[in-house]
């Protein structure tokens, strides 16, 4: 079937990739068995492809579930939030399409032009999400005590916190460490 460069089209494409990979694995196992190889050995020889088929199956399930579950829930959201969350769904699906472009070329009718459009779509989505990036992570609502990070605290006082944490190092408890006398000084004076 012709490639459909929409979110629904990409999900369908992912299912085709998974299916194509499973079919190829079965074919390869059968071919190897016909050469006299045991099923177990044929399985082992095909296992790199089998793991890849399994991952493709899982990718298809995750992106389809993300899309379907968000579709079910979107009516309950305000228009402003709905727009941002749907941008994230698109971003996730287009990202994985671009990550798996080789598989899509192999198992679907996607074209070079479609891929170029996907790339532009992805870059456009990044720019659209940019103004809401901090709001999106603030919404995870993780308290500073829980985040436990000098870089990620809500007030953004990164440099002050990094310095405060550095001062907690036990080495900073004394101006001169005892190894200066036991090792460093004798070493520097050639007496070690």
């Amino acid at each position: 079937p012709p490639w459909d460069n929409t979110v629904e089209g990409i999900i369908d494409g992912f299912y085709r990739v998974a299916c194509g990979k499973i079919a190829l694995c079965v074919n390869n196992i059968e071919k190897r068995q016909k050469t006299g190889m045991s099923y177990e050995d044929a399985w082992n020889m095909t296992s790199v492809q089998l793991a890849s088929a399994s991952e493709a199956h899982c990718r298809a399930i995750i992106i389809a579930t993300y899309y379907n579950e968000m579709e079910k829930r979107k009516a309950d959201l305000s228009p402003a939030l709905r727009q941002v969350l749907l941008q994230l769904v698109d971003l996730y699906i287009v990202y994985w399409a671009l990550e798996n472009v080789g598989d899509l070329l192999r198992y679907t009718s996607i074209s070079e032009r479609d891929i170029e459009q996907l790339q532009h779509w992805y870059e456009d989505l990044l720019s659209k999400i940019r103004p809401n990036a901090v709001g999106l992570v603030d919404a995870f609502d993780i308290r500073d005590e829980i985040l436990h990070s000098a870089l990620g605290a809500y007030d953004g006082r990164v440099y002050e916190r990094l310095m405060a944490e550095a001062l907690k190092s036990p080495l900073n408890a004394e101006p001169v460490n005892r190894t200066f006398h036991t090792h460093l000084k004798p070493f520097m004076q050639g007496k070690l």
Partner: protein
């Protein structure tokens, strides 16, 4: 508040609280979570006199035990007060709260995540009545020992033996080789005094495969290992150094017949073996953990992207246009490429986790009524979801760390410790490639069923379309 971060908040186009409520499930649930966090954090359990990263291995364990006991005491109290089911426990075990207080893992996690669920899933009603009350009140602390030094995911290869002696009506446990020593279980080394041990069952001279047994490891008063029990800690690891992972060997350890969990298979007093309806039922605890893991990954990723995104709004770098100030690094498209997919992934995994959790509950309810039809499908799905989500989460946390440059390398960023926890999940409960191959076995079978014109279960029904084309 840093000016740049405040500017970002000012220009946000949606209501942040609305999204928080959406993530939590409702405004009421957000409020409940806030109250829970307030109650726990107000106790100050998370406050450390000396940052734990500067402690020795032994001191880290001692601190983890102290914190875990205080935390679970508090959670138990809240549980009784609110009577809210498993919510508080789940929040502490896999949620933000637990990882805030027990930053490098908890020695009590397996007690709640595996010991109690296995008793519930594989014990008879009488066994549940006997063990679960004592476990909930923590009069006993348990763990779950399946993996051995020489065998991991391939559980049919396990070597620990449980041989039934009809004269004394006891099982005799033995570790016949070095490779048969149990290896890895959290809390096993110095914390737990009971353990569910998975061993090869022998009765009337015949082996009946692996079965679960409840074994006492340590004296309830002195905590000394019981005779025949060889136990200790496996040593320092890449991360999760507070989880007290242990090894365990047996030398003619006798346990009563009633200590075999007999919901599925039984050994009668005279040693007669009564078979289980499905050998797959033994896997149910592992499936439960894999399902819970998907949710844990969301929490770790949410922390990592929060840290990296806020930092990227504060941090400025380079001067691409002359006479203009250094841009925020969040303005660089490459930085957005690293971070925004992480934010989207948290939402994708959260929705997938709730979807598979619902499926897990449905399938286990069907199991109760003897319907095993969807068990292989759930097993296959939980395997690949665990593999893909843990691998993606590790990659996401590492990307976040890299996006913070040198500062992300500092332990005080909390990104390295988070990476240690996430990458541990890629390893435990089945190495990811092995899990993917287990799913592949199911997919190949599904393909062959489709070729034969048989109906497929919902998550693989898409295969039928393509297979139908091949058949025609």
């Amino acid at each position: 508040v840093n000016v740049d971060l405040q500017n970002e908040r000012n220009k946000c186009t949606f209501n942040v609280t609305e999204l928080t409520n959406f993530i939590d499930g409702s405004a009421e649930k957000t409020l409940e979570r806030h109250n829970r966090e307030e109650k726990v954090l107000s106790q100050g359990i998370h406050i450390e006199e000396v940052p734990s990263e500067y402690l020795s291995h032994k001191e880290k364990y001692e601190l983890a035990v102290k914190k875990a006991c205080l935390l679970f005491k508090l959670i138990r109290y809240m549980q009784e007060e609110e009577n809210t089911g498993m919510d508080n426990y789940r929040e502490v075990l896999g949620g933000f709260l637990g990882s805030a207080i027990l930053q490098d893992g908890s020695p009590l996690t397996l007690h709640y995540v595996m010991f109690i669920p296995t008793l519930m899933g594989q014990g008879t009603v009488e066994q549940q009545a006997y063990w679960i009350g004592r476990s909930w009140s923590c009069s006993i602390i348990g763990t779950y020992a399946q993996t051995e030094l020489g065998h991991g995911t391939f559980i049919r290869g396990l070597e620990t033996t449980a041989t039934y002696d009809p004269k004394t009506k006891e099982f005799i446990l033995n570790s016949p080789t070095l490779t048969s020593y149990k290896w890895w279980p959290g809390g096993l080394a110095h914390t737990a005094n009971f353990c569910i041990v998975v061993a090869q069952l022998y009765t009337k001279g015949q082996c009946h495969g692996i079965h679960p047994f409840v074994v006492q490891l340590r004296d309830e008063e002195t905590h000394m290992p019981l005779p025949g029990i060889k136990i200790g800690e496996i040593g320092a690891k890449l991360g999760m150094n507070g989880t007290n992972n242990g090894f365990l060997g047996f030398e003619n350890v006798r346990i009563p017949r009633e200590h075999m969990l007999m919901k599925n298979s039984k050994v009668l007093e005279d040693g007669t073996y009564v078979n289980s309806p499905s050998s797959k039922l033994t896997y149910s605890t592992m499936m439960f953990v894999r399902v819970v893991l998907v949710n844990d990954m969301c929490n770790y990723m949410a922390k990592a992207v929060t840290i990296a995104t806020r930092y990227s709004a504060v941090r400025r770098q380079s001067q691409p246009k002359p006479n203009e100030p250094e841009p925020q690094i969040l303005d660089y498209l490459t930085q957005q490429h690293k971070l925004f997919i992480g934010i989207a992934t948290v939402h994708a995994f959260r929705l997938s986790a709730s979807w598979i959790w619902e499926m897990y509950n449905n399938v286990t309810a069907e199991l109760e009524s003897g319907d095993l039809e969807r068990l292989p499908e759930l097993h296959a799905l939980s395997c690949c979801l665990k593999a893909v989500t843990t691998a993606d989460a590790a990659q996401c946390v590492e990307k976040c760390r890299l996006s913070c440059g040198g500062h992300g390398y500092m332990l005080s960023s909390n990104l390295p410790l988070t990476y240690g926890l996430v990458t541990a999940a890629s390893t435990y409960e089945g190495e990811n490639t092995v899990l993917l191959l287990q799913t592949a076995r199911y997919l190949v079978k599904a393909w062959q069923q489709a070729i034969g014109g048989n109906q497929l279960t919902p998550t693989v029904s898409y295969i039928a379309k393509v297979a139908a084309g091949r058949r025609s």
